[in-house]
Symmetry: C2
Subunit: 233 residues, 2 copies
DNA sequence: ATTGTTTTCGAACAAGGGTCAAATATATTA
DNA sequence: TAATATATTTGACCCTTGTTCGAAAACAAT
């Protein structure tokens, strides 16, 4: 069995797993399910993957692949301002989160794990070796790649004047990213907000986008406009 | 055994559970652990709590209690601008997230759950009854309370001039909250950013805060202030 | 004292993740 | 080709752990 076929088989199993994770969630998916779905014995899945978490990490890698694609795809079309890029990225990021829930979940879980290992207290206990693992380093790198592309977009914006020149691209982009992560998280509760509340999905999304753009370009532009308006009276 | 004593006992168990969740994490904590730690039999824990998740939800309620306190505590001191309040809230929110990891984790998990049930596809499968459960409704309400206090702060800010008057308080506050959630999530990876990267924890935190404030007050205020400062020279 | 109710326990069940020795298939060598 | 080494595959089995349940113990009411 060549390397070719081995990877083929791995992919079969992983695909089955992802399908099941998507349908029933990670916890509710048993290794038996995966094996059955891939038409092999349970034991064999442990031949190709160390354990259930390993399967999840493999999926996480695919998730980051797709996420990176989202970033790259937006970055590709350079015939517009940096702010436009960021705006489109924001839209596509949310689309990605919605469209590939398990993938997005995997990405967030990874961020959570990293965060966990920053805690002195917890680093010892749970599983001290993950941080060094290949998986982990690779994922961290992919995350970093995304951030780099995003920062590039902001950098372009500062040059073409669509984004405040004084902003540090990395800092600004990480902040934008933070907004997106939080937006997606709060989306749920907002949908369940009682009817009498002023915030609703329909009002939040455009409001959020506006604020995001304001933050990047500043209200500086508005100031230039305002005097003109005042002078009308 | 009066209601008094029953609640006492419940609290004993819950406290034991929380202690263990904190130390070893939810997954690694067994019901045996909890029982042993509370000095009762395993079966009895199921008399007081429906199951392990019920225990977690009980903890989530306490988590939201504390979170609400964070909001209230900041809101209490009214002798300052709305923007100052939001700034302090941001600091305390992050402090809370760091200081009470499991509590914060529980809050985020809850948001995740809500989000899950917005998905047509998933709502059917996993557990269709949680949404209607008392727990769930109560938690949603507590979340909503926090949002209301936060929006109040922004509203104050729009009145005292520290925050752009044209902002919708609810929209603006939810956006701030989103930023905080994302900030905390991205904290981990940022700490692990390779040394050659421009973003580091030390640069991000102040940069983030600055952007948050810029977003709320716009650069408009800065324009008003600047002339005064300039005239000093 | 007797009966009913609440609390408590510990044994047992079932599900599921993970292991392993043996069997089967495949490749290599003589 | 036969024999041997290696790689793949299986299914039975172990072990942990969440959860259930019947019965004992403690307590309250009659």
């Amino acid at each position: 069995m060549g390397v070719q076929e081995r990877q083929q088989k791995e992919k079969m199993i992983l695909d089955a797993a992802i399908r099941l994770f998507t349908e029933k969630g990670f916890a509710a998916t048993t290794m038996d399910d995966v094996a059955k779905s891939a038409k092999i014995s349970k034991g064999l899945t442990y031949f190709y993957f160390k354990n259930k978490e390993d399967l999840y990490l493999a999926m996480t890698k695919k998730a980051f692949d797709e996420l990176k694609d989202v970033f790259r795809e937006v970055y590709k079309n350079k015939a517009r301002t940096g702010l436009d890029m960021i705006t489109e990225l924001a839209n596509n990021y949310v689309k990605f989160a919605r469209g590939s829930r398990i993938y997005y979940q995997a990405v967030l879980d990874f961020l959570g794990t990293v965060q966990l290992y920053n805690d002195e207290h917890l680093r010892q206990k749970i599983n001290p070796l993950i941080l060094q693992s290949e998986h982990f380093q690779k994922l961290l790198e992919m995350h970093h790649d995304c951030a780099k592309i995003g920062a590039q977009m902001v950098a372009l914006g500062t040059k073409d004047g669509s984004i405040r020149a004084e902003l540090n691209p990395e800092v600004a982009f990480y902040t934008v990213w933070a907004m997106l992560i939080g937006f997606e998280k709060l989306m749920g509760p907002v949908s369940y907000e009682p009817k009498d509340t002023k915030i609703q999905l329909e009002t939040w999304k455009p409001g959020f986008t506006k604020l995001l753009q304001d933050m990047l370009k500043g209200t500086f532009q508005a100031v230039k406009v305002q005097p003109v308006q005042t002078s009308l009276f």
